[in-house]
Symmetry: C2
Subunit: 481 residues, 2 copies
């Protein structure tokens, strides 16, 4: 029987000497073989490649290394020292000398890399089919897409081949695959996780993201991964009210903004439409106050990402390859990126002016509620459907996600239920920049209301953190006298 | 003899019934006639045009209207209801129905508009010669440039034709003319003053600015003018630590960053070089701690403004005129703006990436000191010199100013002395965004160390505010029990 790969389960097993990290890694490698048809890995680490990190655990005290022996997967556009980074494109590959700051911090905290995972090439896509090794398959039904671009990282976790994983999220790549594979998908505030050692998609917008089984694990991984990086010009210091201790059990009434019926889109997926309605009903019956907001500015901002001049950033990120050797790029990815050289600076300024207004409108809506809630995606396509209309359907996948980084918001995808066909469905919570811990606390509350298992594993996800959250709006004042 | 036009002097004269606002306005109009050769005004308001605002003063209590009867001039790229806005270009002119938010707030506080002032067309220039009515002349020597682009607003104030004035400042237009005319030139933090009703130069960077005789007056005008504007997408709320009450008399040691000798540029102006050296000597002898910083990132950011893709914003702001009727635009301004349609979005993203790094480098330097101090300009050119090399010399005028808004900094130009030729010289203080009141307080201190007169008037400028500043790093805690 597959191990329970949750943080607490592994930590307990290590503490009780029921398991060693070496045994867990051997088990993962063995099980990974049986999932080779899923097209998850671009590079699964060998025992020899893992040995230095496993050996180093002997010098680390589990009490002071919160991720001691916890296995994690790394999307293959994030550097792991000594292992090729391909971004899903062989012609682009290079072997980094150093790991990305985020990866290094996780390793320093005791986490063990399992491998580099498949992605929509250059993180351009939300579907998981734009991979040279073949489409990545959904963990629950291989006929369906995994979601992307962080496809391998999501499916690896859902199948229990790691305990958390790193994705990236520019347009929704860290949330859509979470939804489709019954996982938490945390898209942190821009700048909270360093982007040093990340192959850019849109450098001004990219975020490294975290997949986890529950919000407790996501908060722990985030705490180890976050931190200001002076070498990343887009890195930000984490403000006081967003520290790890502000995650916990949320008390008090909860008011959540939802999208009016007229602005919802399910693109023909009746099961998802039904699942969303049921999720809202369940929340309302649990006393959550649901209030309608205006989704128009969010939808307009979302359109800017692919229809506007931001594709110029993708063009820059693939130069000189896109100019010198375009045939090396996956056809549909090339088709999207190649026009990125054309827009004018005037187009970009015009779009930035508009975005500034939309951003303010979005933030004003969010300021009126504890968070916004959307379906994470409107439809879960089969691989066949996806390949039939790869650009149109990808755009549909981003209807609820593309605005997030343009509007500088934080968000977290939370699984809530399964469709009658046995496919996962989930919602996304959206908050202001640096509301990550507030969102995680709400997600914790919601995850407790919708008891599900960890990915495809037969173990419940229910978060265990019962400490009340610190109030981010107060500071501690000590009065002596 | 010309009236003392400082706020306190006029307020006292009004309170003692020695003068009425009507008398002051009549006096200004009469004196303005004698300065018609200076090319200051594009529209000097008639008695009839001023009457509604003067009449409205009868309903306003001076005790609750801090600018009661205070005359001010408005750069002609800022809207005054019912009066044409030309931006210095007849073909561009329109007559706004409403005043700019900043203008309206000043009027609401009791201030009285005097007229619309000449500028380098479309605020494109730092010299004051790019005007269809002829070069604006320096208030101290008409053979010299006034500085620009807010030329008329500075010269009007220096000659006592108002008590403060509004300029705009994208590249240095609110500071260079302050330096050349013995005035305070406050370039507020981006977003602190609403840009509603402002003709854009570079919309993402433009700031309305304030010319005043001293920092007390500048702080009062700023307090009346500032305020969040939901209709301006670039408007910001003013944070707690930057409110008007945080301006005052600065206590404690002062550490100021200065530019190393090797990075200073005076472009052949030995008098300015000497004046700058004397200013630093005087500061050091007064106990100010002067420490060298690295000016390289500031200088590189400054170059981006005109040599990089930001000129695309100027192109956008003059469309469709620049396309349909380019002959209507002042030749050298056209020469600068016309290429703005060419840069690509990729060029802009590349420049934004670089700017992000430079911005961080600049801010890190500033964080290590109380503020940075630079010469406001390296050289004061004659009009003849300026017209001889209008683009090269304009670029030289911006050496110490062009980086300011790109790096999102606040700044204030402070006059410190006169050259042997009787021309004004001054320095600029630079701080983080929303350090306006901290900078004003340092400027207050410096102005007291360099006693000068108000513009060309025979009245001393010494600021009178002796209240200690509130500490912006503390909050008030009330303990009951």
């Amino acid at each position: 029987m597959t191990l329970d790969m949750g943080f607490d389960a592994l930590k307990n097993a290590y503490a009780n000497t029921e398991l060693t990290p070496e045994q867990v890694m051997a088990d993962i490698r063995q099980r990974a073989n049986s999932y080779s048809d899923y097209n998850i890995w671009l590079h699964l680490l060998s025992k020899a490649e893992q040995a230095p990190w496993l050996d180093a655990l002997a010098q680390k005290d589990p009490a002071t290394h919160p991720l001691w022996g916890i296995p994690f997967a790394i999307k293959d556009n994030i550097d792991l020292a000594g292992i090729p980074t391909t971004a899903g494109c062989e012609a682009f590959a290079y072997t980094p000398e150093a790991s990305a700051q985020v990866v290094q911090q996780l390793i320093d905290a005791g986490a063990i890399p399992v491998g580099k995972t498949a992605l929509d090439q250059f993180a351009t896509g939300l579907n998981g089919t734009r991979s040279t090794i073949g489409p990545c398959h959904n963990a629950f039904n291989p006929g369906y897409i995994s979601g992307g671009s962080s496809s391998g990282s999501a499916v690896a976790l859902a199948l229990g081949l790691c305990s958390f994983s790193l994705g990236t999220d520019t347009a929704g790549s860290g949330r859509v695959p979470a939804c489709f594979n019954n996982l938490i998908g945390l898209k942190p505030s821009r700048g909270l996780l360093s982007a040093s050692g990340l192959v850019p998609a849109c450098r001004s917008l990219d975020c490294i993201s975290i997949f986890a089984f529950n919000t407790d694990d996501a908060n722990q991984a985030l705490a180890a991964a976050e931190g200001f990086d002076p070498s990343d010009d887009y890195s930000s210091a984490n403000p006081f009210g967003n520290q790890a201790r502000h995650y916990g059990k949320r008390a008090g009434p909860l008011t959540i903004g939802i999208i009016p019926q007229s602005q919802l889109q399910f693109f023909g997926d009746d099961d998802y439409q039904q699942a969303y309605a049921e999720t809202l009903e369940a929340l309302a019956s649990e006393g959550v106050n649901l209030v309608e907001i205006d989704y128009a500015p969010f939808a307009e901002a979302a359109k800017l990402l692919y229809e506007g001049p931001w594709v110029a950033e993708r063009y820059l990120a693939t130069q000189p390859l896109i100019d010198d050797n375009p045939e090396a790029i996956f056809p549909v990815v090339r088709e999207i990126i190649a026009p990125g050289g054309a827009p004018r600076a005037t187009d970009l300024f015009t779009a930035e002016y508009r975005l500034n207004g939309l951003k303010r409108a979005c933030q004003a809506q969010i300021a009126s509620v504890d968070c916004l809630l959307t379906p994470t995606a409107g439809r879960l396509f089969t691989i066949e459907e996806m390949l039939d209309k790869p650009i149109k359907r990808n755009s549909e996948l981003g209807y609820y996600t593309n605005f997030m980084n343009l509007a500088d918001l934080a968000s977290i995808a939370v699984p809530t239920q399964f469709t009658p066909a046995g496919l996962p469905f989930g919602i996304t919570l959206v908050g202001q920049a640096f509301s990550d811990r507030a969102l995680l606390s709400i997600a914790n509350h919601i995850q407790a209301l919708f008891p599900l298992n960890k990915g495809t594993l037969p173990y419940p996800t229910k978060p265990s953190n019962t400490a009340p959250t610190a109030n981010p709006n107060t500071i501690d004042v000590l009065v002596c006298g």
